[in-house]
């Protein structure tokens, strides 16, 4: 198992937001975390990473900080870049947990590979903050790739991106899973989640409502319970398109 959560509960400002969640993720899985706003998706990922206090156990949070940093990387929703650093320097931050200090041959190779994979060669020396939003997002993903961890946790990675960028991002995550890594990402677009994820986890009111393949999780009854909506499913050659009505 790459990540095992058991009985994970989180209380924020004295309000319980997560109730005893059990979840186990293996390698090669791209798990989409879906659910309405306030369902506890961000809390689940933050608690799993040990960023916020929780009760229960998280195999990841239990690791010492340096080992954890070489086991899982995290893309927060905020996409913060505080200083006008170059794309190259930004990506190199992913090497902090590794012993080379960012300068060893292994580090250089990981940074180059990440930049190449995200198609950022032309922007290498450019200041990341001066790039477009989509390019900045790619640079931040490259930073996560440079960390070279078996697991990637991403909080709403496609929010605010144009359709082409959304597709590119999800394809990348699917490819990463195909390479044997594990990806856990919260996604609001149910159709895209259904198309790209190998498994969906539906969260509502701090409970796991459903966990499994898209067909099983995106049932009418479950969606009504979770979101209070009904959806229309249109089958297309590329997978189901899901329209809320």
């Amino acid at each position: 198992m790459v990540l095992r959560l058991s009985g994970l509960s989180v209380t924020r400002r004295r309000r319980p937001v997560l109730h005893g969640v059990n979840l186990a993720l293996g390698s090669g899985e791209f798990v989409g975390l879906i659910g309405p706003n306030g369902a506890g998706k961000s809390s689940l990922m933050e608690a799993a990473l040990g960023l916020i206090p929780f009760t229960g156990t998280s195999s990841l949070a239990a690791m010492p900080a340096d080992r954890r940093a070489r086991h899982a990387t995290y893309l927060p929703q905020s996409r913060e870049i505080a200083w006008p650093v170059s794309v190259e320097d930004l990506v190199a931050l992913g090497r902090i947990p590794w012993p080379g200090g960012g300068r060893s041959g292994e580090d250089r190779a990981a940074i180059d590979a990440a930049i190449a994979r995200m198609g950022l060669e032309a922007f290498r020396k450019r200041t990341a903050l001066r790039l477009s939003g989509g390019e900045q997002n790619r640079a931040l993903i490259a930073r996560a790739l440079a960390q070279d961890t078996p697991m990637l946790i991403a909080d709403e990675p496609i929010a605010g991106l144009d359709p082409a960028q959304q597709l590119a991002c999800l394809r990348l995550f699917r490819d990463l899973a195909a390479e044997g890594r594990t990806v856990l990402a919260s996604i609001h677009d149910l159709g895209l989640a259904a198309r790209f994820c190998t498994r969906l986890v539906l969260l509502s009111g701090g409970h796991v409502l459903a966990d499994g393949p898209a067909d099983a999780v995106l049932g009418d009854d479950l969606l009504r319970r979770a979101f209070g909506i009904t959806v229309r499913r249109v089958e297309t050659p590329d997978g189901p398109a899901i329209l809320p009505v």
Binding site: E46, L49, G50, L51, A65, D66, R68, A69, R70, A72, T73, Y74, L75, P76, S78, E80, I81, A82, W83, P84, V85, S86, D89, L90, L93, G94, I96, P97, G101, L129, L140, R143, Q147
Partner: protein
């Protein structure tokens, strides 16, 4: 980066020499340096070794310390407006120093002076981090700084006014503006060891500050401990700013101006900016200290006057940019 560190080092060396060779006595340069290196009879070795050397060393060390802590605080708070002088850390250090002096503690043990200043600086920086930690914005930071500065300034004035010593009340200018005039080697030995320790602590969190570029959460998942970083930064800042203020008063704006100037040159990465800012701060303070001796040779013009003349317009410019939503 490497190119800039060489340039800055050469500049610091030249200004250190200029500081040694500047003074009202107008000594011949070669005689001065010979007297400094080899001693000898007569007053020139005393002037060089007891008066000018400690002044130059303190200018170098305090400038470096202020540049370094400025860059470190900016990196930690992810805010280019952070600076030990402006946000009240130096003011709190001055309050600590004044209390140590006026209660007679520093008379009982010389080390009480830097220790009390460090305690003041610790209180200042801890209060600031609590009020305007990494999640606080520019407005919180500046307001917290204004409040801490006001409190420290009022406390300092109060303690000095209550002193039985007639000269004490006039010292408020020294504590607010800072000066290196007539400091001795004693001050050097008092200030340098804790400052070196503090600088070491701050340089040890360079990579952690780099990681903070991505925000607190991402930095933690890169293996950075938030509490460890915070305590090292608070302790390091207090160890540098406390003794510096105890011997030279509060000198503002060095830690603001230098990182701002150097960021486009050496890169915005805190790990590159920190050592460069130390060199830049040393250069700025040495230059300012040479300038105060050249502008009004027969009076003790305070260093903070010059640094504020350079720094305050830049500060306004930075606030303007923050206001209009631009990144610095």
């Amino acid at each position: 980066m490497r190119k800039w560190s060489v340039t800055l080092s050469v500049l610091v060396g030249a200004l250190f020499l200029a500081s040694l060779l500047t003074g009202p006595a107008g000594l011949p340069a070669m005689d001065s340096l010979r007297a400094l290196a080899f001693g000898g009879d007569g007053p020139i070795p005393i002037v060089m070794r007891e008066i000018r050397l400690p002044r130059a060393i303190l200018g170098l060390a305090i400038g470096a310390g202020l540049g370094l802590t400025g860059a470190a605080l900016q990196g930690y708070l992810r805010n280019p407006l952070a600076e030990p002088g402006l946000i009240g850390i130096s003011g709190m250090a001055a309050l600590g120093a004044v209390i140590a002096i006026q209660t007679g503690l520093s008379l009982a043990a010389m080390s009480a002076l830097p220790l009390a200043a460090m305690a003041g600086a610790t209180a200042g920086v801890a209060l600031l981090v609590a009020l305007a930690g990494p999640r606080g914005g520019s407005v919180t930071l500046i307001l917290a700084g204004v409040a801490i500065s006001a409190l420290a300034g009022a406390g300092t004035a109060l303690v000095l006014n209550l002193s039985p010593n007639p000269y004490a009340a006039n010292e408020i200018v020294f504590w607010l503006m800072g000066s290196l005039a007539d400091k001795s080697m004693l001050h050097v030995w008092l200030a340098l060891p804790p400052m070196a320790l503090g600088a070491g602590l701050i340089l040890s969190v360079r990579r952690a500050l780099d990681a903070l570029t991505l925000g607190e959460a991402a930095a933690q998942t890169l293996g950075i401990s938030g509490t460890g970083l915070r305590w090292r930064l608070i302790a390091g800042t207090a160890l540098v700013v406390g003794p510096a203020t105890a011997v030279a008063g509060a000198i503002g704006f060095v830690g603001l101006v230098i990182p701002h100037i150097l960021r486009p040159l050496v890169g915005a990465r805190p790990s590159a900016l920190l050592p460069a800012s130390a060199l830049g701060g040393a250069a700025l303070l040495l230059a300012a200290d040479v300038a105060v001796r050249l502008i009004v040779p027969d009076r003790d013009l305070k260093l903070g006057v010059l640094t504020a003349i350079v720094g305050a317009p830049l500060f306004l410019h930075l606030i303007w940019k923050t206001r209009s939503g631009g990144r610095v």
